[in-house]
């Protein structure tokens, strides 16, 4: 699907938006706004990585497993062995990749697809959360633990100002979007599209189903693992429920599905809407409605999947293109 951002005005509009985002902190707005936008960047990055596979019908409801694995391995290596998270994140993300490889191979080899794949991943996400809680001695169990503070120490991924995190997470998000484009131009994208539609037909023309699914699952898990590190370094506190439980595992796909996982901008737009909405509810209603966002999530998710499977942004695009096409045929 072509996005209006790709037609003529596309590059200009994109440059303007990017320019605004880069210049935004310069005008020293409130740290609160910087904080919210940083959160949007981090979760956009994660939900974009989720959509790498989600858009080909590989719906994972357990990405918290990779988020948590990446974040905990990295943070524990730092707290106990003083290993810089810049290096640790590669080890953490490799842990996420290992998990994805084992899980993926087991599922794809035995033909677990669709809803069944979603259910298996959901269980694995919770399994990782429970394992973290069980290893109370080192992980602090369900109370979580705090990163050792070094003050401003860029070599150890700790900064005195939130602005650094703003720019770093923006960079990561841009990388994830760039990788999306690269995947779109690759042979792998065609193979995955075919697999997503009809595995039997795809394999009959010589497409290796397991290899392609493994590849995209591993890429997605690697980026998600890094995303966990990003979030943990920013918040400086790790908790199994915010990093790998069912709630976060469901929140990631929800953001992507809301925006529309078939379009490169969909996950980011969905994330911006959700994070803003959550903040709005939190600020205006405080703790009166704790848990209400989960209820809203559930209802909205079901409604979306039934009525707008392409997500909000995806649906807007579709209407836009239909208008354009009918305008073209008239003129």
């Amino acid at each position: 699907m072509r996005s209006p951002l790709n037609i003529k005005r596309g590059p200009i509009l994109l440059t303007v938006i990017l320019g605004c985002l880069i210049l935004f902190p310069v005008f020293s707005p409130s740290p609160y706004l910087i904080h919210i936008i940083t959160l949007i960047f981090i979760w956009s990055y994660v939900s974009t990585a989720w959509s790498y596979m989600g858009r080909f019908g590989l719906v994972s409801l357990g990405h918290g497993a990779f988020l948590g694995t990446g974040a905990y391995i990295t943070a524990l290596l730092f707290n106990f062995f003083n290993l810089s998270p810049w290096i640790g994140m590669l080890i953490g993300a490799s842990g996420a990749v290992f998990l994805a490889a084992v899980l993926g191979y087991a599922c794809f080899r035995s033909g677990i697809i669709g809803d069944y794949f979603a259910l298996v991943t959901l269980a694995v996400g919770e399994l990782v959360a429970l394992s973290i809680i069980a290893m109370r001695e080192i992980t602090g169990g369900s109370l979580g633990f705090t990163l050792r503070s070094l003050g401003n120490s860029p070599l150890y991924f700790q900064f005195g100002s939130k602005v650094y995190f703003y720019y770093i997470s923006l960079l990561f998000l841009l990388f994830a979007l760039y990788l999306w484009k690269r995947i779109d131009k690759s042979k792998m994208q065609k193979a995955l599209k075919a697999i997503g539609e009809d595995e039997v037909a795809a394999s009959s023309v010589g497409i290796n189903i397991i290899r392609h699914k493994m590849a995209i699952f591993i890429i997605s898990a690697f980026l998600t693992g890094i995303g966990g590190v990003l979030y943990a370094q920013y918040i400086t506190y790790l908790n199994p429920h915010t990093l790998s439980g069912v709630t976060v595992s469901l929140a990631i796909p929800f953001k992507a599905i809301l925006g529309g996982m078939f379009n490169i901008w969909g996950p980011a737009i969905g994330t911006a809407m959700i994070v803003s909405l959550e903040e709005y509810i939190r600020v205006s209603y405080g703790t009166k409605f704790v848990g209400v966002s989960e209820v809203v999530y559930g209802i909205a998710l079901i409604t979306l999947i039934i009525f707008l499977p392409k997500g909000l942004y995806g649906t807007v695009l579709e209407i836009f293109h239909k208008r354009q096409r009918s305008a073209e045929t008239i003129t």
Partner: protein, 257 residues
């Protein structure tokens, strides 16, 4: 050339293939040899196991017993993509186009992924060129942006053939490429099959449950009934075989009345 030097190459060899679904034997003890360059017809009433046999050869199903050899190598239980890479292509009885891709892109998939390891690496451009070549070859008339759902039944069957050919096979498993077509389309599709064998040198096993067009084209016919081979031979011999008439034509007549 003295006759002793003419070697007949056995391309595909099935030895005692059996396939059970629960307690039901869909195929039992199928043994069959197909020579290189042959045009073999495989017929049988509905439910006789023709498509199941294709699924076993192409790797979609693993046989419960027996061995499938292709060009002398055991390919039993290999994944379909592997078997495709070795040079076995198939069409589907119920066409399975990828609906979100254009017709050209569907065929391109075959060119891009079908022959990895056997011939040159395909770039998008060469794959597209090849795709258009095969689309022309099967006589499919489409534009660059035509989607599969704009095709007729005959068009979809041609798409199946073009996509299979794009994987540059040496053996083609053609599953009911003329069923549901009118007389004119049947003649056209049969002549395409004939040209695939003669001009491209592809060995063909053609499955059909209607006898008509098939019998006039193929050199040898194998008849399946209830998962067993009940007759085998030249079309003229087979159509006179008493067991075939009973199992097969008998049923056809019942269908008529």
């Amino acid at each position: 050339m003295p006759p002793s030097l003419i070697q007949v190459l056995i391309m595909l060899s099935l030895d005692g293939i059996g396939k059970f679904f629960g307690g039901l034997a869909a195929l039992s003890d199928i043994s069959l040899k197909v020579e290189e360059g042959e045009f073999l017809g495989l017929i049988g009433p509905n439910g006789s196991g023709k498509t199941t046999l294709f699924n076993v050869i192409s790797g979609v199903l693993k046989p419960s017993s027996g061995r499938v050899s292709f060009m002398g190598a055991d390919i039993t239980g290999l994944y379909p993509d592997k078997i495709c890479h070795l040079g076995v292509a198939r069409t589907f009885q119920i066409p399975r186009p990828l609906k979100d891709l254009t017709v050209v892109e569907n065929v391109m998939l075959g060119a891009l992924f079908g022959d990895s390891g056997r011939s040159t690496y395909h770039s998008e451009e060469t794959a597209k060129r090849d795709a258009i070549k095969y689309i022309d070859f099967v006589g499919l008339k489409v534009g660059e942006l035509t989607m599969p759902d704009e095709l007729t039944a005959a068009g979809l069957r041609k798409l199946e053939l073009a996509r299979a050919l794009a994987t540059s096979p040496t053996l083609l498993l053609a599953d009911e490429v003329i069923s549901g077509l009118n007389q004119e389309e049947i003649l056209e599709a049969s002549s395409v099959l004939n040209r695939i064998r003669d001009e491209m040198g592809v060995t063909i096993i053609w499955v059909e449950h209607i006898m008509g067009a098939l019998m006039s084209l193929v050199e040898r016919v194998v008849v399946l009934d209830y998962g067993k081979i009940i007759a085998e031979g030249k079309p003229s011999e087979v159509s006179g075989d008493k067991r075939v008439v009973e199992a097969y034509l008998g049923e056809e007549e019942q269908e008529v009345y």
